[in-house]
Amino acid sequence: MNNEPIIKCRGVHKWYGDFHAIKGVDIDVYEGEVIVIFGPSGSGKSTFIRTINRLEEHQQGTIIVDGTELSHDVRNIEKIRTETGMVFQQFNLFPHLTVMQNITLAPIWVRNWPRVKAEAKAMELLEMVGIPEQAQKFPGNLSGGQQQRVAIARALAMEPKIMLFDEPTSALDPEMIKEVLDAMIDLAKSGMTMIVVTHEMGFAREVADRMYFFDEGKIIETGTPDEIYRNPQEDRTKLFLSQILQH
């Protein structure tokens, strides 16, 4: 592991009009690390993860991804987006394209791969997430869990260096959460750098290197899963954990 973080955030602020959504976040992520961000809704955790690939613009501070600083330069933004894959809560698969076309769209049009190469890569990824037989179907015909696994494959097809997950299991039925988490755990164990916004504490315990607790747009507490679960320092962390771990 080299010493320069692959993602470096310093004093990141974000306002929506008068609402101060993110109040100075500093995070370093090193290659191969798995970071879990959790916290109450409205704490700015989703907004923060979306600033990393510029789906939200930060107004103050610096974000450097893989040596490229996020600025108003369109070329930088597109470069960073090709290096970071993102998985959304609502899957956001393209309903007018088949599973195969969903996955090969960006490799063909952004990476300029020949179709055959893109399709081979797509099949490989579909095998990995366990649904190669769904390749020619349209997203509307798949279950939520299958759709989310396609979404993971779609993001991975660009061979990103970093994967961002924005509450990937929150819109799923309970029995489908496991199949998606299993795919994510495999990915984490393969050495992918990941930032995951989630409340799946089992997942965090198994693969997270560090956890960040967000509240009111700030990092309240950080530590390894062990430190956070066994011995949280802040009252707010304790309260939040007791609420989500109770049931």
Partner: protein, 396 residues
Amino acid sequence: MALQTPQKTETTAIPFYRDERVLQIAAQIISAVLIFILLYWAVVNFLRAAEARNMTLSFGFLKEAAGFPISNPPIEYDPSMSFARAFLVGLANTLIVSGAGVVTATILGTLIALARLSSNWLMSRIALAFIEFHRNIPLLVLLFIWYFVVFSFVPPIKDSLVWPGPIFINKRGIYLSWPRLTETGPVFLIALGIGIVVAIAAFSILRKKRQETGKKTYFMPVSIGLVVISFVVGWFLAGGSPFWIDTPSLKGFNFQGGMRLTPEFAGMYLSLSLYTAAFIAEVVRGGIQAVSKGQIEAARALGLNQFQVVSLVVMPQALRIIIPPMISQYLNLTKNSSLALAIGFQEVFAVGKIAINQAGRAVPVFALIMATYLSLSLLTSFILNIYNRRIQFVVR
């Protein structure tokens, strides 16, 4: 599985008047019989009444001389020609005003929708004002505003307004400078036509090749280049300009040359186009906005550029929402052209109305008019539905 056997034996035991299958078929038969009786009664009654009043229902009169004039017929016509010919003149006028209206309303409506969606406050407000004004005024009122109010402010022929072009506007209509083909002009058109066909083929072949091989094939600049080249080549083959500009000029008491749009046509065309454009703008805006924000975010997160986001993700999804209501708008526009009767633009309905007065054959004339609109509408929706079916999702 085991439950099915006892259920089956039970169904055979249902008396017929409680069996839903029997009841469904019985309902079908009874309603069919009732409708048939009603239709039979209506037709017989109608025929008897027609006979009693000596109304002939034949279309034989169509061959007789019409005997009434039609101002500015788009195809050759004089009162000695048949009713059928007069009807054809009306149909031609309907097709011209609807065709021009559909094209203008689509282009204008799309532009207004884009302005409405733009983040530019002023543009968006102007578009909103346009839409609300035209959507909330009856078309007939709009037609009268253009025909009676606007054209009443237009100067008489001697003091025509002159717009760049030159375009002359006066009480007799709008006189446009109009490009007309020279003798070698068709050569140019053929060359340009071939160029466009080749460019479209090149676009799809090169785009396909780009997808297959991943190599840049420059399908966009190449196809645009092909059109430009065929334009230039055609120009040279035609031995100079393929067009000459027919400029209207005042000769004595009237303008000669150019393209004349009568006030009736101009009023009808403008109000139909503007009115329908307002509805089309809302249809297009709705279609674009129906594509969820998440789709655009997902496309961006994959690194697609702005143009690719629109052409590969937004438009394919928006079009499938836009096309069906767009078909309705086209049909409405065509049917609304019958309001031209109110300002004396002689399209098919206005001609039909005169024919009723002249020949006294209300029933066949109305049958003809209805059949005309019906076939125009069916033809339009048939063609557009083929396209629509092609772009709809295969979901199951």
